[in-house]
Symmetry: C2
Subunit: 474 residues, 2 copies
């Protein structure tokens, strides 16, 4: 099974597809660019949802649900927004056997339909803030699709908040990108850099966009979450005003922020290896698999009996005993390894004699001999160590492959090997576009923690005040 996966060193893109398919996370469908998320992938999404949802609620947000369909005319109300999204839309023209009077767009994002309702809901500063989030499917008709990373339909959450002041909206946009950072680092074991997108890369309709960017194992960047300060753009487009404390009418200030099933693609490319999927324990649908090893019926009864006895008080969603009789232990080891189960526990007759088991970590392959006494606690400790170990390894990789470069020829050569490049940039869109044409790399973000540092733009030599991070990206 594992040998069917292409090696990363041979073909990284093919390795990724192999891992996703062989690990039973997803499959293709006959619908262009749409995938099936299979249980081993959807279980990860359920864990992502559960953790993020709690973080959203702890920061005062509540969930709601708006329609899938958006009247086509809504999209045109915000000029930049329509330019950004209209070319990607799927359009419903017929329904109930008739042609529709107004065509309906399948939501590519929900700003317009939501701000149309906010007009009805907001009249006074007392109605603010509104702190809503939505878990939903969205559709963007992409030309080139790739499982999880870019699909025509995908699952996501989109926060949409309304505020009485610029400062409050700014605080919210900034708060939420840090919620995403904490989520990525704590639960996905995926270190990120946090900062602001350039004008060219910001969301269509935003004042500015904050992002988290993660480094994949090939050194490329993956934009993993964004938070937009929308200013009063959507309030103006949909005429949403409120009476402030001084009884004056003002336009409402907005943010929106989202992460999607793309995160799962990021998780794969950040952590997995040539043997298949590696899942951070915090997101694993199945944290532990127990493989009993026996020859003959007597041993089978004894080993299986002991495994069941050991786990009788465990949460049934925490572990599985692979008691299938038609497969040998080696086959089972591979089966669960490819699928990314964090800890494999092996129990054989000799282990029973010695009151011990062998526990194998999926990320490092390290084997530990654990006493059967207090086994669950020892395994949970191992899972925590693995979670931290995965983060540390990914962090070291990102740090090792983050370079400071000041010569454009040097940059053009080295960018092909991947990595994050701290470069000086004058702020001009022209330089940004030239770099993109020359190197297929982009400015990923202007990091929040960039220190003031005078320098010269890598591309044009013009004055620059701080370094930005550039990389090739997904």
């Amino acid at each position: 099974m594992a040998r069917e996966i292409t090696k990363r060193s041979e073909d990284y893109a093919q390795w990724y597809i192999d891992v996703v398919l062989k690990s039973d996370m997803a499959d293709y469908t006959p619908v262009r660019g749409c995938m099936v998320i299979k249980p081993n992938g959807y279980g990860i999404w359920e864990n992502i949802q559960a953790k993020l949802d709690r973080m959203f609620k702890e920061t005062g947000h509540v969930n709601a649900y708006f329609p899938l369909f958006i009247p086509e005319s809504f999209l045109t109300k915000e000029a930049e927004h329509v330019e950004g999204f209209a070319p990607e839309c799927a359009v419903v023209t017929h329904a109930g056997g008739k042609e529709l009077e107004e065509r309906l767009v399948v939501r590519p994002t929900s700003e317009t339909i939501i701000w149309d309702k906010y007009r009805d809901w907001i009249s006074s500063y007392r109605d603010l803030p509104i702190l809503l989030n939505q878990w939903a499917n969205v559709c963007r008709w992409e030309m080139r699709t790739r499982l999880f990373l870019r699909t025509t339909e995908f699952l996501w959450q989109e926060g949409h908040t309304a505020h009485a002041s610029h400062e409050e909206a700014e605080e919210e946009a900034y708060r939420m990108i840090h919620v995403y950072r904490d989520f990525a680092e704590k639960y996905m074991a995926m270190p990120v850099i946090t900062g602001r997108k350039t004008e060219q890369e910001k969301f269509a309709g935003a004042l500015h966009t904050y992002c988290i960017e993660a480094m994949m194992q090939d050194g490329k960047a993956l934009q993993s979450g964004t938070s937009h300060h929308l200013g009063q753009n959507f309030a103006k487009a949909f005429d949403v005003k409120f009476q402030n404390r001084d009884k004056e009418l003002e336009y409402v200030h907005a943010t929106s922020w989202g992460v999607s099933t793309r995160l799962i693609g990021g998780m794969v490319m950040c952590h997995s290896d040539d043997n298949g999927l590696v899942i951070p324990p915090e997101l694993a649908p199945l944290p532990v698999v127990i493989v009993p090893i026996w020859r003959g019926d007597d041993e089978q009864d004894r080993v299986l009996g002991r495994a069941r006895e050991l786990t009788q008080d465990w949460d049934p969603l925490f572990y599985k005993i692979d008691d299938r009789e038609q497969y040998k232990p080696g086959f089972k080891f591979n089966h669960w390894e490819v699928r990314g189960v964090p800890i494999r526990v092996e129990i054989g007759p000799r282990d029973c004699d010695n009151n011990q088991v062998i526990a194998v970590r999926r990320d490092t392959g390290e084997k530990a001999t654990l006493s059967m006494d207090g086994l669950e606690e020892q395994i949970r400790k191992l899972l925590n160590e693995m979670q931290q170990g995965m983060f540390d390894a990914a962090k070291k990789r990102m740090d090792d492959r983050t370079y400071t470069v000041d010569d454009y020829a040097d940059y053009q050569q080295r960018i092909e090997d991947g990595g994050f490049f701290r470069i000086h940039w004058c702020g001009s869109g022209d330089c940004e576009r030239k770099m993109q044409e020359d190197t297929r790399s982009t400015i990923r973000c202007i990091p929040f923690d960039a220190e003031p540092e005078a320098g010269q733009c890598l591309i044009c030599g013009g004055p620059s005040e701080r370094r930005v991070v550039a990389a090739q990206g997904y």
Copy 2:
């Protein structure tokens, strides 16, 4: 606030709409037949999801996600299915700025797209059973819509299982309708009758359909959940065969089962009153609201301080202290009453002196004086009593309004006042249609617990072997 709600006795249909809107559960949108589910409604759906999802997992199911779009040709592969659903479909004809080669239907239900994949996934009895569930939005272009009860887009779950034998599929379909019954009775406090749909009322493409039917306060029936034994119909339509243990090729056996946001409409019509929404505690987004009562700053500090002290160790999602200064207690009582918060706790200065609070149950209006010592535990006990009390009241209402009738003229008169009618029926579709034309009532189900009883069909006088349940329905 409460007085803006139409009385049930005056106009039951308008009362329902008023409750849904005033309780902040949902709102209309400019998209025909589509609603916004607002946080007070979506919070109930989140609780429904959490409880049901656990019940599905405890019965061995896992979640997956299939595409929103279905190639139009797929729908036509099962003859009854296309007849049932094609007229209701929304159709995407353009995407990415171009006309599509094959039109895509927005899923009205997912049997076809799922069985198309099952063909790839199933080849041997070892691949069976497949026990998948999907949480998703679906779209059926309805002519007449009503908030929650019938909307063009709605949220639901759909289970889709594949089995090696007729008996196993039958067991599954029967098991799941009982999961729905248990859910409705235990968490929604909504008693149901459980049974089989007639041929005319079954799902388009099923061998037979099981259902749960609940009685609303106007005596009408609401179909609240269905479970279908699909036989080999979809396996034949999509050519899904497996090799059985005897190495013979056989078509796979199927079930599907679903409940939707319609349940929330049922909950409203089963439990709410002229003052607004009443939510069973098990589904309440906010179980407890605390309204402090004060005059002047000193009292405010004292009462609010005490309220905060009392609740400092409580789960923040369990309660809210309504400390708004711009509103009087009477306004707050109404505010939370309309929104259906199960328990209101009042704390005034005299209560502080006496180390007590007043707790008011939303369903009965009963007031109880509770000691401040061990308050959380007493409130949780009250919530449990309320949950049981709501079920008992609804059960008594259903029993009181379930009639045994043997005279068609009598039936035609009494059906207009609502209620469930135990009638004899010969089994003919003609009689069923005649009854429907004469009385706008239908056979809701053939109950599982119907005792054999010889009788004469209420409509034609022909022989009947057991009573069925008829009612007007939603």
